[in-house]
């Protein structure tokens, strides 16, 4: 649910990073926060446990500049990845404009990826959205680790759309692919806006 303010000429969009526990959602946000211009970004809010596991959500507002005279602002959220926080995950998807699924490339995390994507589909549905129509990007994270599944395998296993969603390879801890992922989802969200409004 994009919020368009004609009075202050602003447009706000909500992007949610989804994925299994420890896949690097918060790391994505942290990198964006570290690398973006201090004037363009707001405070990074992290509602985390003492061991840095996300408890409710992380939040980063990001101003991207002006499109056709409208100030464009993206609100980036992550969900808690751990399975038992499902009630919180559902809440964060409320009013979402675009979803990034961060998949953990390690072979032993494939089941967790599949489980999380099924959970995403279900929770989107409960908020009245459909993964096959909402702006959506798949990020394959942790490509630098030794025990990763191949891109083809993962795409085959996790792809949701036809024509296929954009797939971005990433190493979020080093920043590889982080902005590319954000950019591709932002494009889809804005394109969606031109169609819907």
């Amino acid at each position: 649910m994009t919020f368009i303010n004609y009075a202050s000429r602003e447009i706000n969009c909500k992007i949610v990073y989804y994925g299994p526990g420890l896949c690097g959602k918060t790391t994505n946000l942290q990198y964006i926060y570290d690398k973006s211009n201090a004037a363009a970004r707001g405070k990074l809010i992290s509602l985390a446990t003492e061991t840095d596991r996300t408890l409710f959500f992380d939040f980063l507002p990001l101003e991207l500049g002006t499109v056709r005279g409208f100030k464009t602002r993206f609100h980036l959220y992550t969900v808690p990845g751990q399975v038992f926080y499902d009630a919180s995950r559902k809440l964060i998807l409320k009013g979402v404009d675009g979803v990034i699924f961060v998949a953990d490339s390690q072979v032993e995390r494939m089941d967790a990826n599949v489980e999380a994507i099924e959970n995403l589909k279900l929770n989107l549905k409960s908020q009245g959205y459909d993964l096959t129509t909402i702006p959506y990007v798949l990020q394959l994270n942790k490509r630098d680790l030794p025990n990763v599944a191949s891109v083809e395998e993962m795409t085959q296993l996790l792809k949701q759309k036809n024509p296929p969603e954009p797939v971005v390879e990433a190493v979020a801890a080093k920043g590889t692919g982080v902005f590319e992922t954000l950019k591709s989802v932002a494009k889809l969200v804005l394109a969606d806006l031109t169609r819907q409004t």
Partner: protein, 166 residues
């Protein structure tokens, strides 16, 4: 789309600003602001210079969403009022027109009773404004057939690329 988009026009935006400015004075509050349920700030009034209103908006929405979840768990439709009491400052949160959140921050210069009373009155006025906004959005939509005129209809790939050029 799960719910229709909020589109804010100049006229209603000014009406909203007037209502919350009046509420701030009437309730003797420090800050009054309005957030939509997804965490987007709509308007703010008062001592907001040193306040991170964007974060406040997102956390408020998170708070309300979590409380809604709690309400449903125990069989309530919603908790329409939340109140957080601090040593100096207090936060009064209420739901208006089912979709926006009205937040009042106040200190010892005011009282919970006064805030509740004034919020009630302001809520009625805000309800009317939001009803007008929704009617307007509907009207514009039907006038233009399926798609109403949007400034984003002509966004090009270059426009989007330029957002990321740094």
């Amino acid at each position: 789309m799960a719910a229709p988009d909020i589109v804010m026009y100049e006229e209603e935006f000014n009406q909203i600003k007037t209502v919350i400015a009046k509420l701030r004075t009437d309730a003797n509050a420090k800050v009054v602001f309005l957030v939509d349920k997804n965490g987007q700030q709509i308007a703010a009034h008062g001592e907001i210079e040193n306040l991170d209103t964007t974060s406040l908006a997102s956390l408020t929405a998170g708070n309300v969403a979590a409380t809604d979840g709690l309400a449903r768990l125990i069989g309530e439709k919603e908790f329409s009022i939340l109140f957080h009491e601090g040593e100096k400052d207090n936060i009064h949160i209420s739901i208006v027109a089912q979709r926006v959140i009205l937040v009042v921050i106040f200190d010892e210069r005011s009282s919970l009773g006064l805030v509740r009373l004034r919020v009630k009155k302001a809520s009625t006025e805000l309800n009317d404004v939001f009803a007008r906004i929704m009617a307007k959005v509907e009207r514009e939509k039907s006038q233009a057939g399926t798609a109403f005129e949007s400034p984003f209809a002509e966004i090009t790939d270059e426009d989007i690329d330029s957002l990321f050029s740094e």
